[in-house]
Symmetry: C2
Subunit: 402 residues, 2 copies
């Protein structure tokens, strides 16, 4: 256990199959008692890297996911259909993110504790995974020069925002949000140090409309062993801008939005939020720090403190964008929220931390589908305008309670 | 009326609001009768470019869609929330693609004919449109140097594959498919000649699962006034490959797939179909001509003839990929099918015609959602492998009736 910042205590545990788990606690009740509340993980899980034993006793080694280089687009595509040990599966109706039931022989879920504040653990079915002994080098598929493949040797983690499966991220306290920021920053820093990791992405998918079947409030953290296409694109744009002007593109974009003010939806001492001038989603907001910062780990205490309330305000604005239900309950706007962070290595100085939060929802019950133009050609077409989005956000912000 | 190829007759008409409509006919019954079967479009539609008249008699000029340059990604984003004349809207439950009812005073739909074979017309609510008098130049939004905008001066057309709303594209006859190919080729050639058009994209979205609410079998044709992101990416990859090897990338990819054979699902004299080695969708097939061809308009008669049956076979394979219904009816696999064509201008010699057909469906009732990694970072992750997809397609192809 270690106090990492702002009275947040980090404790590391290991799950029965060898995966890492980290508690990030802020509650007073755990100050002296945190060790007793943790259970060992008592589940009958095989070490996840142990060979799979067949009925005849034969052993098949675990293989990790592989990624292939799509030479048509220049993108790596992980194919996560790898062999895994899946000896113990929780019941289909269990919530794997819930705390363990008091006194249970073992937990139905992933978290061997009867309570927690915020917890992060390695995904059991990861799309990106480094398998010990699998050498991380390029090989040629079928001996063809055009066809490169490599182990998809990254890491996927899950972050639970709250032990309460009824609460959405918008409803956590500022103190808890501050702890979540601490956890994101910690994981960004730690994952950036791993061999071969080029970029860390902390994100949340919210809503059945985008395929989320697990309603417990949680996010994900991907450590990619390659630069993602979006980051590659932004980096090329930022480097061209640097070559031409000597300046940082993302900073110049934020300053242009501030000069205009037309689409700025929230301003703080350290943070700014605006609908980007070329917003492509029916609802989209970018949040940027005023200071040049590469990633969450580089944020100082004052920036983290303000972000906790600032982000909660933005989440409330997202939920006020569409009409409330008849009883006054806010709509749970489905959204994707992702922290764009600078690459770990080359290009780090050219990019800049910002959050992109956006929704597929065009109006209640009506989704924007990514059909031929978007999915086939990558060509987004919006049927609203950034100014309309900003106007509605600002109008509804007057009602905000935060 | 003109015979354009293969006994397909093209007839041009104009809709009441000024939009173009083109019939592509192959049926014998129209050889001498095609003029009498056409009705004028009798609907009370205002010319679509006429100013909008307010209650006080004031006139507001029509504006077309605008597109903004997203400096973070280098992509143009059309914002299609423009002012339009919408004086006559068909009833919500009408099928606007159905032929007119015999003897009706006017058609509920868009097609003023009591029957048709294949018909193409300009979309009434286009995302891309050139408005006469709107000058097609870059301007700076809010005077900011970073923020370029332009009229989204392209064109959007709709193509009806059949007058029968019960029939899907897979179920049309080879003769009718041949006519559809003729229509696609004709529209590609004509739209490529329009001012400012850089690329023509013929595509079909099929299935409620991807938001298609109109079940009449139809596709769309977009003429973009910019190179789409996917084409821009492919062109950069192809030009790098040309610089390194002197060869065409797309040809080399097809030849590598043929050498391997592992993922080839159908071969003809002129056409080849394979699951690409880095497939990103749960089900994805590419179809390529053996000869270097830039677009559909460059296909010769023999290639067009074979494509008609070849493409129908691929569509049947798509519908056999998932289990049939209990009564033996094939599943209507939701899909997006799009013709990647070389740009009209620069880079034309480096790209090459191919069709990409893919599905979001992972298994019956289970979609792949484009969540944080895909939508936020552009980073696709597949949970199958190209070889598994190919194996299943080939296995089921044995049952094909075509």
């Amino acid at each position: 256990m270690s106090t990492i910042s702002n009275n947040v205590r980090k404790t590391r545990a290991t799950l029965a199959d060898g995966r890492d788990l980290f508690y990030f606690d802020d509650s007073a009740q755990y100050v002296s008692g945190e060790l007793t509340r943790r259970l060992d993980d008592p589940r009958p899980l095989t070490d996840r890297f142990a060979p799979i034993v067949g009925e005849d006793g034969s052993e098949t080694p675990i293989t990790g996911p592989t990624m292939r280089y799509d030479v048509l687009t220049g993108e790596w595509i992980p194919h996560a259909a790898h062999r895994m040990n899946r000896t113990f599966l929780p019941p289909a109706d269990a919530n794997p993110l819930a705390p363990a039931k008091p006194g249970a022989a073992y937990s139905d879920g992933e978290i061997p504790a009867e309570d927690y504040d915020v917890v992060v653990f390695e995904n059991r079915f990861p799309s990106l995974m480094r398998v010990p002994g699998v050498v991380d080098v390029d090989t040629l598929l079928e001996g063809e020069e055009l066809w490169h493949q490599r182990p998809a040797a990254g890491r996927c983690e899950v972050i639970c925002f709250s032990p309460d499966d009824k609460k959405s991220l918008r409803e956590v306290s500022p103190t808890r949000m501050r702890t979540i920021i601490e956890a994101w920053a910690d994981r960004t820093e730690e994952l950036s140090k791993l061999d071969g990791i080029e970029q860390v992405f902390c994100f949340e998918n919210r809503g059945q409309e985008i395929g989320v079947t697990l309603h417990h409030p949680h996010g994900q953290i991907y450590a990619y062993p390659y630069l993602t296409p979006r980051t590659t694109q932004m980096l090329a744009q930022a480097q061209a801008h640097r070559a031409k002007t000597g300046r940082n593109l993302l900073r110049d974009v934020m300053e242009a939005e501030l000069r205009s003010g037309r689409r700025v939806v929230l301003e703080g001492e350290h943070w700014v939020a605006y609908v980007p001038m070329a917003a492509r989603w029916p609802l989209e907001i970018h949040i940027a720090p005023r200071r040049d910062v590469a990633d969450l780990a580089e944020l100082n205490e004052a920036e983290r403190d303000e972000l906790a309330t600032f982000f909660l305000q933005i989440l409330e604005m997202m939920d006020r964008f569409f009409p409330a239900q008849e009883d006054g309950t806010l709509t749970k706007t489905p959204y994707i929220s992702g922290w764009h962070q600078a690459p770990v290595g080359e290009g780090r100085e050219d990019l800049r931390l910002h959050l992109q939060i956006f929704s597929f929802l065009r109006s209640p019950g009506k989704l924007k589908y990514l059909a031929g133009s978007e999915s086939g050609m990558g060509a987004w077409i919006s049927d609203t305008t950034p100014e309309r989005i900003a106007d509605r956000l600002i109008e509804e912000a007057k009602e905000c309670t935060k």
